[in-house]
């Protein structure tokens, strides 16, 4: 029943798209006032999509296995919470969620853009509807979440156990808000380009939307990363997996775009650059979807794949690219810009420089992600690109990037000088000494680490100082930049000081190193709702007499029959102790991995701080308006 309602509301939603297009074109030609019925229509469309989405949620809650999506991704014994989160833990459901966000954003956009011109609003609506129609057809034709099965099965196939996790339950909705949120930037930019409305006012208005997407995207990536840290059991937080890259690319583009918008708002410059960036942000989100969903890439996220789906997204993606190229090439009129007249020492120059760095990082990630595909098609050789590639290409360029990030915000718009900037030099010397001290005490690779750490500390101190002297004038920017320096600093320290041991132990064994002794005390078994657990107890004795007890788990799920390992992590401000145990087939041994990861919590906190900076900036603008 719920499935049926869901399906028909979906079809109604599509019908409304055509209705909206019809009315907007009429409205575009005839009058000079925006037809407010369009807002109601958009709201109705959103309503139908939401009803459809809840239809699916209800089918999942009721374990209605006559619905193919539920059957494939649920089971009666799964806890209710994961039944619900299973709704978007699969290809069909997550696309429905895309559609929810797409329609929600255009509705909100129309509500919030009452001061804008009629042409611009209607065109944005039209472009957005093109995207929405594409997704409607995609869902209904190739991935209908309401397909039914007869005879009705009594049990579902179950939800992949690694998705049964609180962080991963909320990760997709948050990420999609960011991912799909960029669609509104895309539509609005195309509309602004075709009505020749790229201006300071436009910058002010679109900035909020960029910020909203950016905040959600940041938080979404953070959640995914935290999940990977404790669930995958490798103890890392970023693996340069294609799926991670695919979320990082729009983030880089969006961050760049945001900084450019600031320049546009102040100086009416970089207009063509901004149009290109807005288009590429959404295009990158879409390509990400394509790469992940088509199975063309090899990654930890395995969606059920179907070549038809891949082909559809591919064609749709390129239609959008060509559409935006067409709009950009034929309608874009450059304002009397002064891009080349930037004074070398000014805020906008430093933003521009950092833009170039961001674009460089983006290119590196892009090339690393798609190169294997290209190579396989051309030479049919199978390869993979590993973390060393990214580390090698990105880390050296972080140094000037961080310096520019530290100095840039202190410069004035248009023209600045270096008077009263002696403290900059002072900080440089301090940072250098601190880094040299830290690195020398612990590490072998002196030169690289010192230089990198100097630049991080430099940004760290100069943003820290700003908290006190600038009287919180530019708090949002300051918090975000400070958070970024903290992030890089924690990652760096984490990399330098992490240590791990891996051993195969039987129950009762002990493993000794110079610094500590791990003893495998015992194992216990327990039965939970839809899995059995084996809990190991490990005592870790340190030289100084401290004893730590960790209890990692092995979970054996009933359906699908999969073993997962749950890490046990003891977190404090300075370090995480992280232990996982794995079963070795047909043997008495357990594979134990014990890691000490310093400053892990600071990595998470700093990303939170960065997104808080974005949030602050969002609200600041609200007050001013």
């Amino acid at each position: 029943m719920a499935s049926l309602i869901g399906f028909y509301s979906l079809v109604f939603g599509l019908f409304f798209s055509f209705l909206i297009i019809l009315f907007s074109i009429k409205n575009l030609r005839n009058t000079n006032v925006f037809n407010n019925n369009l807002i109601s229509l958009t709201f109705l469309q959103f309503l139908f999509v939401i009803i459809s989405f809840f239809g699916l949620v209800i089918s999942f809650i009721n374990s209605d296995f006559s619905n193919a999506t539920v059957f494939n991704h649920s089971h009666t014994t799964i806890p209710l919470f994961y039944k619900i989160s299973g709704t978007w833990g699969n290809h069909e459901g997550s696309l429905l969620l895309w559609l929810v966000v797409l329609t929600l954003f255009i509705f909100l956009f129309l509500l919030k853009s009452k001061n804008q011109t009629k042409q611009y609003r209607i065109l944005t609506l039209l472009f957005q509807q093109i995207i929405i129609i594409g997704f409607f057809i995609f869902i209904i034709k190739t991935s209908n979440p309401f397909d039914y099965i007869f005879p009705v099965p009594n049990e579902g196939l179950g939800l992949n156990p690694i998705l049964q996790d609180p962080a991963l339950a909320i990760h997709p909705p948050i990420l999609y808000l960011g991912y799909v949120g960029s669609s509104i930037i895309f539509s609005s930019t195309l509309a602004a380009t075709s009505t020749n409305y790229i201006s300071k006012e436009w910058a002010k208005h679109i900035k909020q939307w960029i910020l909203i997407s950016w905040i959600f995207l940041t938080l979404g990536i953070l959640l995914g990363s935290i999940w990977a840290y404790y669930e995958l059991g490798w103890g890392g937080f970023w693996f340069w997996d294609p799926v991670e890259n695919v979320s990082l690319m729009p983030w880089l583009a969006l961050t760049t775009l945001f900084h450019c918008i600031l320049v546009l708002e102040k100086r009416l410059a970089l207009t063509s650059w901004i149009v290109i960036l807005s288009i590429s942000t959404f295009t990158l989100s879409m390509s990400g979807t394509f790469l992940v969903r088509s199975g063309i890439l090899n990654s930890v996220h395995t969606f059920a794949n179907d070549p038809d789906r891949g082909l559809f997204i591919l064609i749709f993606l390129f239609c959008l690219i060509f559409l935006s190229l067409f709009v950009f090439l034929f309608f874009f009129k450059a304002k009397n810009e002064n891009t080349y007249n930037f004074f070398w020492l000014s805020k906008e120059t430093s933003i521009l420089i950092n833009n170039w760095f961001m674009m460089y990082f983006l290119t590196v990630v892009l090339v690393g992600t798609v190169y294997p595909i290209f190579l396989e098609v051309i030479t049919s050789e199978k390869i993979s690109v590993g973390p060393p590639f990214y580390n090698k290409l990105i880390i050296p360029f972080l140094v000037p990037f961080l310096f520019a990030m530290a100095i840039g915000p202190k410069l004035k718009w248009i023209k600045s000088d270096l008077k009263n900037k002696f403290n900059l030099l002072f900080f440089l010397i301090i940072s250098f000494f601190i880094s040299a001290l830290i690195v020398k005490k612990f590490n072998v690779n002196f030169l690289v680490n010192t230089i990198l750490m100097t630049s991080v500390f430099y940004l760290f101190f100069s943003t820290l100082r700003d908290f006190f002297i600038s009287k919180l004038k530019n708090l949002a920017q300051n918090v975000a930049h400070f958070g970024f320096s903290l992030l890089i600093l924690s990652i760096l320290l984490n990399n330098i000081f992490s240590s791990e041991i891996i051993a195969n132990l039987k129950v009762g064994d002990t493993y000794e190193t110079e610094k500590f002794k791990i003893s495998f005390e015992n194992i216990k078994q327990k039965k939970e709702q839809n899995f059995e657990v084996i809990i190991g107890k490990f005592n870790i004795e340190f030289l100084n007499g401290d004893v730590e007890t960790l209890r990692p788990e092995l979970r054996i799920y009933n359906q699908p029959n999969i073993v997962t390992s749950e890490a046990d992590i003891k977190t404090n401000l300075l370090k995480d102790s992280f232990i996982t145990m794995n079963l070795v087939q047909n043997q008495n041994y357990f594979n134990i991995r014990y890691q000490i990861k310093p400053f892990m919590i600071w990595i998470w906190l700093s990303v939170l701080l960065i997104s808080f900076g974005g949030l602050k900036s969002l609200f600041k603008k609200k007050y001013e308006n």
Partner: protein, 139 residues
């Protein structure tokens, strides 16, 4: 005045071009060095010389070939045509088991011995890495 502006613009474009070429060069060069090739046991048997580079070997874990001691795991990867002995000391993914597909990353000692530094796991029991699938299908 006008001439100066044009000159400036010219230098600007030249600078961008230079940076662009430099970064493309850097990326390509680093790609070449850091790419990991995938090979099946059969392909390794037919190698003329042993490369020092990191590679990935994929196939099936041969039944009854896994043996474990405190430090390391030993097993045999087979593509049902040829085999290779693997020694590995590191974290073992849960889905690693006999008769299932596996991809190991590491270095070749010779044509029969492979020193793995990482075993790649996928999070679905039925998942078979495409490389392994292709290697198995070729037999």
């Amino acid at each position: 005045m006008y001439g100066k502006k044009v000159k400036l613009r010219f230098f600007f474009v030249l600078l961008i071009l230079f940076i662009l070429i430099l970064s493309v060069f850097l990326i390509l060069k680093s790609l070449e060095e850091n790419v990991v090739y995938f090979q099946s046991p059969t392909e390794i048997k037919t190698l003329s010389e042993i490369d020092k580079k990191k590679i990935r070997v994929g196939g099936m874990v041969k039944t009854n070939s896994v043996s474990v001691n405190e430090k390391e795991v030993k097993f045999i990867i087979t593509d049902l045509k040829n085999e290779i002995n693997v020694t590995y000391s590191g974290a073992i993914p849960n889905l690693f088991s006999e008769g299932k597909g596996v991809v190991a990353e590491g270095y070749l000692k010779d044509k029969n011995f492979f020193l793995a530094t990482k075993i790649l796991a996928k999070h679905d029991e039925n998942y078979m890495p495409p490389e392994v699938k292709a290697a198995l299908e070729e037999k």
